[in-house]
Symmetry: C2
Subunit: 470 residues, 2 copies
């Protein structure tokens, strides 16, 4: 495995390339360096004070043995299907690691996988879940459900768990529930902990003080990765390697600092949309992971002084080349309100050679014999060129290759970038107060005791008024 | 199959609900009605003049037999894998129909599918495609490739075709290419037409004058749907049913008119992001189809008078309940710059009952015994309630159920909404001039003859400058 570090390339955000109206001038960079540099000390102090325990996750290597042993036990038990029941930070990292580091045909082709099939259910759609359970029920004894929730009271995950618990108990008895379910939850308290203790489930831990969106490099994300054959030691090694880079004091040597500063600058200049566009299918679900990280961390009404600020860049997931034929028309000609971040890979694990052109189609001769990877990266450069032509700022994260080490780096880079950005916006990066009302409203609509007053308020607002239907 | 019509519910965009700063007042609605109503005549005139042939696609029922016969032939030939090679409008509709109307486990569970496995490749990622071809190569004779391109010169689709052509010829001889490939292309001219004629491929047509993003209800989208067991007659019937509704002259009775007007209003009020958030897994890829439709149609620099306007709402794909735990923090607390469109379904094809709570977790009792569909729709209402609390405007498209008829309706509703919106923005809804430069830049970077000058320009811009790497 190559161990070169990710690089952030930012020339195409500069005024030199796209002009002073939309680009960042040398003076502006100097100013950004001035306001961002002190943040490093702030983040260090928070880290030392134990306020950002996510920063230490890559160093918890003693825990990996535990995860690997559990994965081995589950395999020995005959696990052929591994099913994550979780949502948000208990799902998006798992999905991103799988898409990035395992083959596209992993679930369909037993020759291409080293572990069980992987399914992640992060929704409560009965049609979707029924389709899965219909298929899965005859092979429940070969299926492991990993329910992931800090509290166990998240309605989505709790309802999935109750359905699976009944199914397993009906089909395999009380032992079935015990044998086929693994809980990743709070080490001591909470609903899921109580259920796990009561039933004697095998357990892993959701780390204390780490929000879901920062938890992928803990038990939350690592068990599904390990059992599917992903090198979790390399993931953490990559994150540690990035830690040394994002701890640099020099603005121009610290990719998290400069990434956050550029994002902050453009937000303040009215470019409030942040498009992440990998030119690599394997990286596509990292954009979804990033969407949560960025949106929940930076979307805040109040700043730390209690002022109403209503900040928050809107993260947007795109994919090259696919979205060239869907979004690039807007990206070039629409409002100049977006910052683009490309993810580009230099070396591919597999490549394909484009076949010869038919005699009747000499116009395709320019493709014949070329590597598909060359085409993919040419398309990236072509799109970037076209965007720059219209003065749209572009960042690129350069991957030497996609492997567990670089993915670990990427995750840590963006987590720390988020911490820098939150500090620049002067907000609380780590809470998510606005999610609560929706959760409570769900409780109220489902008739949970204690939410009767809220239910009375919701009724009139959500009742369909026939006068406004067309 | 139920045949009730989709409904658009718009009360939660009104000033009555979210106040005058962010809601639409009665006077503003009256004004929107005044400016939008004349558009109906304009669109009718365009339709009569043959300028918007997509409007007639639902009436081309004589063509369905042709598609169904071809699908039957392919099944008789032993087709077990159906592979679409296309991009943009030649892929997103196919994917959306499949996700909407076939089971989640379709490809993995032979009991749950009536047709072949379906794969859609709308990218040129060598690692992704290699994984598929490794699996597929031993069963090439059971695999049909449907290459879809009007011209055949789209670099992505052309390169896929050349790879598949070589593979089939190497493994199965020239007959292999002829037997396993179906071309959907221009009836007369172009590169793919020439290749198809030369090799004797079976062909379907990309309709004349219909842009890719408006073509799903033609041969482009219907062959993959038909062979996978989707009722394509009902799709068109649904679109026709919606046609009568979106041809209404009365603003308050025409959902396309009122939908476009509300979107137009909010764009002009600075809410330039348009979030489509289905509360239904099956509808999730319709959001991707909508993203292209909306972005390519409405993202334009010039208006029809040649003025620089740089308009274009940014379409954003979200999914309930998944994104409640990812995006709703931002949606509620961040800038009030988004219009939300929920897709809500009343009746589900399958449902699940949530199991009883364990004795040790009485706090989950409120979920026990409830239908999962009730939870899903309660979450929708809860999220809407929370957004309204923060004065964020919300539209809802109400589906009685998800079936081919309602999906056909939805597609046509949004196509015509797009035409209305384009007319309100006073732009050309149907072209995509900005895609060209990226295509040409790709040609240049791949060394195509005639693009040498462009290649010289691109070189310096896309060359990595080591001074800007961190």
């Amino acid at each position: 495995m190559k161990r070169s570090l990710l690089k952030l390339y930012y020339k195409n955000t500069t005024a030199e390339v796209i002009g002073e109206e939309h680009g960042i001038t040398k003076e502006q960079f100097e100013n950004l360096a001035k306001i961002t540099s002190p943040v490093t000390d702030l983040l260090d102090a928070e880290r030392q004070a134990g306020k950002t325990p996510y920063r230490q996750l890559p160093y918890k290597t003693e825990n990996l043995k535990n995860i690997q042993n559990l994965a081995a036990d589950l395999m020995n038990q005959g696990c052929e299907n591994f099913v994550v029941l979780g949502i948000g930070g208990s799902a998006l990292g798992n999905i991103a690691l799988q898409t990035a580091l395992n083959p596209y045909m992993y679930n369909l082709d037993s020759d291409q996988r080293k572990g069980p099939r992987l399914f992640v259910f992060d929704n409560v759609d009965p049609v979707q879940l029924s389709s899965f359970l219909d298929w899965c029920t005859p092979q429940l004894d070969k299926t492991i459900f990993n329910v992931i929730s800090k509290s166990g009271r998240t309605a989505e995950t709790a309802s999935q768990l109750l359905i699976v618990r009944k199914l397993l108990t009906d089909k395999l008895g009380a032992e079935g529930f015990k044998n086929q379910v693994v809980a990743t939850t709070d080490p001591e308290k909470g609903t899921l902990r109580a259920i796990a203790n009561d039933a004697g489930l095998r357990c892993l831990q959701v780390p204390d003080g780490v929000g879901g969106r920062f938890s992928v490099l803990s038990d939350v994300g690592l068990l599904s990765a390990a059992i599917c054959g992903i090198d979790i030691e390399e993931l953490l090694a990559g994150a540690r390697a990035m830690d040394s880079k994002v701890s640099e004091k020099d603005f121009y040597k610290n990719p998290a600092m400069i990434n956050a500063a550029i994002n902050f600058h453009y937000y303040n200049q009215g470019k409030k949309n942040s498009v992440m566009m990998p030119y690599n299918y394997a990286l596509k679900d990292l954009s979804d992971w990033y969407r949560q990280l960025w949106a929940e961390s930076l979307g805040k009404t109040k700043d730390l002084n209690g002022n109403d600020v209503f900040v928050g860049p809107t993260p947007i997931k795109a994919l090259g080349t696919t979205d060239q034929h869907s979004q690039v028309q807007l990206y070039r000609e629409g409002p100049n309100d977006k910052l683009f971040t490309f993810l580009q890979v230099e070396n591919f694990e597999n490549d394909l050679e484009i076949g010869p052109e038919p005699q009747c189609a000499p116009e395709l001769g320019f493709l014949a014999g070329a590597k598909m990877s060359k085409l993919l990266n040419s398309e990236k450069k072509a799109t970037e060129y076209a965007l720059l032509h219209d003065k749209r700022p572009c960042l690129t994260v350069l991957f030497d290759e996609v492997n567990a080490h670089t993915i670990g780096q990427f995750i840590y880079l963006y987590e720390v970038t988020t911490s820098y950005a939150g500090a620049l916006f002067n907000i609380n990066t780590y809470d998510q107060p606005a999610v609560e009302l929706g959760k409570e409203a769900t409780f109220a609509l489902m008739g949970k005791e204690g939410f009767e007053e809220l239910a009375k308020k919701i009724g009139p607002v959500t009742k369909i008024d026939e006068n406004y239907i067309v």
